[in-house]
């Protein structure tokens, strides 16, 4: 997983979140999940994608702390290293 870059993770996270409802151009690192109307069920689905793609396992307690898209990207990148 050493080849995973933050840019790749960001692109994958944005693409996945956009498939849940919000427009892709609305999603930035600073967007909060609340303003994107992304809830805990969506985050579980995001975690499944992340695990499939990067082998990073995110549990409920990991997700609880996440407020913004950037928080999620940073967590995934740090776990993938």
């Amino acid at each position: 997983m050493a080849t995973v870059t933050a840019e790749q993770v960001e692109a994958r996270v944005v693409e996945t979140l956009a498939s849940f409802g919000p427009d892709a151009d609305q999603i930035t690192r600073g967007s909060t999940f609340e303003e994107l109307d992304i809830d805990s069920l969506d985050l579980v689905e995001l975690a499944q994608v992340v695990e499939d793609d990067y082998g990073v396992v995110l549990k409920g307690e990991d997700m609880k702390e996440l407020k913004t898209v950037g928080d999620a990207i940073d967590l995934i990148v740090s776990r993938a290293e």
């Binding site: 498939s19 849940f20 409802g21 109307d37 069920l41 579980v44 689905e45 499944q48």
Partner: protein
């Protein structure tokens, strides 16, 4: 004195199109929505009518219900602002089977990729109350919201339950209906194994050649209000839910009790609840599934409940001749067309009815639509029947507007 319950909004998504008007008008024009042995909602494009989030989160049965509810709520003028205290606005959406498409898809995921890859949306999408929950959330209905299930009587049971909820004083308005989306390998395989489906793929209720029902899908929703609330706000009153009766055969899991005794009692209870006698019933919207057993037992029940002499004079027609059997949505769709029949004074025909069966000898409105004839100047009255696997019988009485 019972609180009166009026209808102020109608909505439907059926094999005849998206909308209550296409449903009624196309049926009345003799058009059939059945293709290749199934009544599919081919005009329904979820992505055009619902948000990305709604489409992803909802099983097809809830998508159909949410669109039908949107039409009914707008028709009633409830979409801008609720005319009643939100905690006194209920929502009952029936389904016979629930989110079976979700169940099938998630079982595929479980088998192919393992249980840990199943979607967190699996249960909330398949649960039978998912449609009621989605409608309650979208329109801010904070009173009682739930599903009812009684197979093919579900939609009628929902309306009866909503009627009582308002009459009893637990709610002042209820968004009520039924929904079903069972055109899946499970649905076809299972009903076929029972030999319940028509091998010819033709729905012709009461005809001697009938050979089973044609499975359909769809949703229908009505907005019911306590009469003084609707009158005070100047709402257009489309009709009244006047009576409800329900019994069970306690006889067989799938076959109706042939004498129609319990079904007769349901009809009698509904007429008594509405305070109408046999001479006041101007039209019967039949359950009329196109199975040998149902259509004969229903005919027997109608004759016993209204008396043979009167029963022969009442026009009886079945929507299932045009849409197939919408299962848990059937009673609600039939309520919508019954209200429209009373409103427009046009009785749509039983499509395809040509060859009489000695066991089915009522006036099934063959050929084409005809005017509703009333015995005197009072508002017209109709009966709508629903009967189900499990032996559940429901009769509803509707009263049309005075003019």
């Amino acid at each position: 004195m019972k609180r009166r319950v009026v209808i102020t909004g109608l909505g439907a998504v059926t094999p005849l199109g998206v909308g209550a008007d296409p449903l009624f008008e196309r049926w009345a024009a003799g058009e059939c929505g059945i293709l290749d042995g199934a009544g599919a909602c081919t005009d329904f494009e979820p992505s055009e009518l619902l948000s990305v989030k709604e489409v992803r989160r909802l099983d097809r049965f809830s998508q159909l219900a949410l669109v039908a509810a949107g039409e009914a709520v707008a028709d009633a003028g409830w979409d801008e602002e609720l005319p009643v205290d939100p905690f006194r606005a209920g929502c009952i959406v029936a389904t016979g089977i629930g989110g079976i498409q979700t169940v099938q898809a998630q079982l595929d995921v479980q088998r192919e990729r393992g249980a840990e890859r199943m979607s967190p949306l699996g249960i909330p999408a398949q649960m039978s109350n998912a449609a009621a929950a989605a409608i309650s959330m979208k329109y801010g209905l904070k009173g009682q919201a739930f599903a009812v299930a009684s197979a093919c009587s579900s939609g009628a049971h929902a309306i009866g339950s909503a009627l009582r909820m308002i009459q009893y004083g637990d709610a002042d308005g209820v968004v009520v209906g039924g929904s079903e989306a069972t055109l899946t390998t499970f649905g076809f395989g299972s009903f076929n194994a029972m030999q319940a489906l028509s091998p010819t793929g033709i729905s012709r209720p009461f005809d001697a050649r009938r050979d089973g029902f044609v499975m359909g899908e769809g949703a229908a929703v009505l907005v019911l209000e306590e009469a003084s609330v609707a009158e005070a706000r100047g709402a257009t009153i489309l009709g009244e839910v006047a009576g409800y009766g329900s019994t069970s055969d306690a006889y067989h899991l799938t076959a109706p009790e042939p004498s129609g005794e319990a079904a007769k009692r349901a009809i009698e209870l509904a007429m008594s609840d509405a305070g109408v006698g046999p001479d006041e019933v101007d039209y019967i919207n039949a359950h009329g599934t196109s199975t040998q057993l149902n259509d004969a037992a229903e005919t027997a029940a109608i004759k016993r409940a209204l008396g043979e002499e009167r029963a022969y004079k009442i026009p009886v027609s079945s929507l299932k001749s045009a849409t197939g059997h919408l299962l848990g949505a059937a009673g609600a769709a039939e309520a919508v067309v019954t209200v429209k029949t009373l409103q427009t004074r046009v009785i749509p025909p039983t499509l395809g009815y040509e060859v009489p069966d000695p066991e089915c000898d009522l006036d099934y409105v063959p050929g084409e639509a005809r005017p509703l004839v009333m015995s005197n100047g009072r508002p017209p009255v109709a009966l709508s029947n629903s009967f189900a696997f499990g032996g559940h019988n429901v009769a509803l009485v509707f009263r049309g507007p005075a003019s």
